[in-house]
């Protein structure tokens, strides 16, 4: 049946991803060992390996490139300062993702309280009405001309805007799964929740996002 064709493909992707993850784990371990001895260059190499992941998570969670970069920096600084406490019981990536996820959630909690304060005083929390488009993202788009570039930019921005309307926990789980491609088990380990919680949050988040994106994607009957 045509509608089910993606299921097998996803399993294959996960299998390939597992092989790559093993190599990455060995390299991570070597770099972590060196970084623990104070080798900042080794940690810089770790940052390069994971900067895209951490930055993308932060950007999708907060919707602002400047904030996302600040968050990503703080995440790596926290990780460096906590390296002595990292015993290697889990993968470095899982440990780092946990730091990143919790830092994002804490940032949003703080921002919400700032927003509430600003609302009380009648000021906009950040002075911005939406998500700033990224120029470097814009130039990476595939399109035959400027009009198509703009159209795609608008769609990207609209999707991002809808994404940030989800609750923080729903947003986190859908980003970890559908943007970052993590397994249910890794998401559960990263967030420190049960597998069933991941599954239910993910289902609700996906259904809500589908309903929100329906009008944008031309689904007349979306509910």
């Amino acid at each position: 049946m045509g509608t089910l064709e993606n299921a097998t493909g996803l399993r294959l992707q996960q299998a390939e991803g597992d092989v790559g993850a093993m190599d990455a784990t060995d390299e991570d371990r070597r770099l972590v060992d060196r970084a623990r001895t104070g080798d900042v260059r080794a940690f810089e190499a770790l940052v390069r390996r994971y900067e895209r992941w951490v930055f993308t998570l932060a950007l999708r969670m907060v919707g602002d490139r400047g904030d996302a970069e600040d968050i990503a920096q703080e995440v790596f600084l926290k990780a460096y300062r906590g390296l002595q406490g990292f015993r290697g019981g889990s993968r470095f990536s899982t440990w780092l993702y946990a730091i990143a996820s919790h830092h994002c959630l804490n940032h949003l909690a703080g921002r919400d309280s700032r927003a509430r304060r600003a609302e009380r005083t009648g000021n906009s929390p950040d002075g911005q009405g939406g998500v700033l488009p990224s120029a470097l993202d814009r130039v990476a788009d595939a399109s035959p001309g400027p009009d198509a570039v703009l159209e795609r930019q608008e769609l990207t921005r609209a999707i991002q805007n809808e994404l940030v309307q989800l609750t923080e926990h729903h947003r986190m789980v859908i980003i970890l799964r559908d943007v970052q491609g993590m397994s249910y088990e890794d998401i559960a380990a990263t967030l420190g929740v049960e597998l069933g919680t991941v599954r239910s949050r993910l289902h609700r988040a996906r259904m809500e996002l589908k309903a929100r994106l329906g009008p944008l994607l031309g689904d007349g009957s979306s509910t």
Partner: protein, 382 residues
């Protein structure tokens, strides 16, 4: 299975987590229910749109900035380091402090009428005239300040009388010439306020923002001047053929300051993001011209090319993409640049665009631009 149960299973179905009887039940339901089939299609479209957001990269140099922050000493380390400075650092600092103390003492003595009077009275007759000239020759212009607010002018010495005759300041316009005035200052009509502010040390800006003369932009930490009072304004004009150090300073203040690499690059990116391509092009070109060794030059060149493209300046865009590909063939944006170049060649009516796009598809078949390129090739390159 009813419609509600079917939709509850969409998430598992999308993840490939269904098998056996549940999968068969859902398949039968979707085959027989057009509404749920449409819902499933909408669900998949939404998930694909989300997936298409893709990864994002932080700004160039992110990892290095993190390393810098790690290596930057914490506050207590900085304090400790200050307390145990090596001699090679301490000695120049102490020497500079001594010189500053000496200058401050000299300045204070010149401002004190009693001390100055005592110096004049006790000085040997032959040195009374020479002393100010000597002081003027060794004292930097920053100490030439002598404010009109001085409540009690000192008893006129031969030197101060002579300098007043030269400058002839109007009543209330202040006396810029004192025993420490430089020879240049004596020769040029004084605009007291301007001179005093210009002669103020740069490390000690005015306490409050001052109004700016027309055409002069206030910048924090920069030398500022105030408009002279009306009665002194005519005197601010430099005599033909002469140019005081003050006027040189004023001119240097008025000249536009070069913008930093960060400012130019960031402005270029921001303007681009806001669809203001003309200023983006200006900023990016200035960045490339003024900071050719900056690590962000490749990104700036790519953005510049894309800004030209967005403006429809395809010839310039094509040339820029070509230069980008020649200089940075291994850059992460090289695949995009190659596809862009092919499209632009076709837009310019060049047949070589077909070859470029085919080349791009051979080399980078899996990037996002590939699908569009295949459509373009099918439509325009039979």
């Amino acid at each position: 299975m009813n419609c509600q149960e079917a939709r509850e299973a969409f998430s598992d179905l999308y993840d490939g987590a269904l098998s056996g009887p549940p999968l068969a039940d859902l398949s039968r339901h979707l085959d027989g229910c057009p509404v749920c089939r449409a819902e499933w299609a909408a669900f998949r479209r939404a998930m694909h749109a989300l997936k298409d957001l893709g990864d994002e990269e932080p700004s160039p140099g992110f990892a290095a900035r993190v390393a810098e922050r790690i290596e930057a000493p914490r506050w207590w380390q900085r304090v400790a380091a200050t307390l145990v400075l090596p001699l090679r650092v301490k000695l120049p600092i102490h020497a500079a402090a001594l010189v500053l103390l000496g200058l401050a003492g000299l300045w204070a003595s010149q401002r004190s009428p009693e001390l100055r009077r005592a110096a004049v009275e006790h000085a040997p007759a032959g040195t009374q005239q020479a002393a100010p000239e000597t002081a003027a020759s060794v004292t930097p212009p920053t100490t030439a300040k002598k404010t009109e607010a001085e409540p009690q002018p000192p008893a006129p010495s031969p030197t101060t009388v002579a300098s007043r005759k030269t400058a002839s300041p109007p009543a209330g316009a202040g006396k810029a010439q004192g025993p420490l005035a430089t020879p240049e200052a004596k020769d040029v009509p004084q605009a007291p306020a301007v001179r005093e502010e210009a002669a103020r040390p740069m490390a000690a800006p005015p306490a409050a923002p001052l109004p700016q003369p027309q055409g002069q932009v206030a910048q924090p930490g920069r030398l500022q001047s105030v408009p002279p009072p009306p009665e002194a304004r005519a005197k601010t004009e430099t005599r033909p053929g002469t140019e005081s150090s003050v006027s040189v300073m004023q001119r240097s203040v008025s000249a536009p300051a070069p913008r930093s690499a960060d400012a130019l690059f960031s402005s270029g990116v921001t303007e681009f993001a806001a669809h203001r391509y003309e200023p983006a092009i200006d900023d990016l070109r200035a960045f490339l011209a003024q900071h050719p060794d900056d690590g962000r030059v490749p990104d700036a060149r790519f953005l510049l090319a894309d800004a030209y493209r967005a403006q429809g300046r395809y010839a310039e865009a094509g040339a820029e993409f070509e230069a980008f590909l020649r200089q940075y063939p291994k850059h992460p944006r090289a695949p995009t640049a190659l596809y862009r170049q092919g499209e632009i060649q076709l837009l310019l009516g060049e047949k070589s665009g077909c070859k470029t796009l085919r080349d791009a598809l051979n080399r980078y078949p899996d990037v996002r631009e590939a699908a569009t390129a295949r459509e373009t090739l099918a439509a325009r390159c039979p």
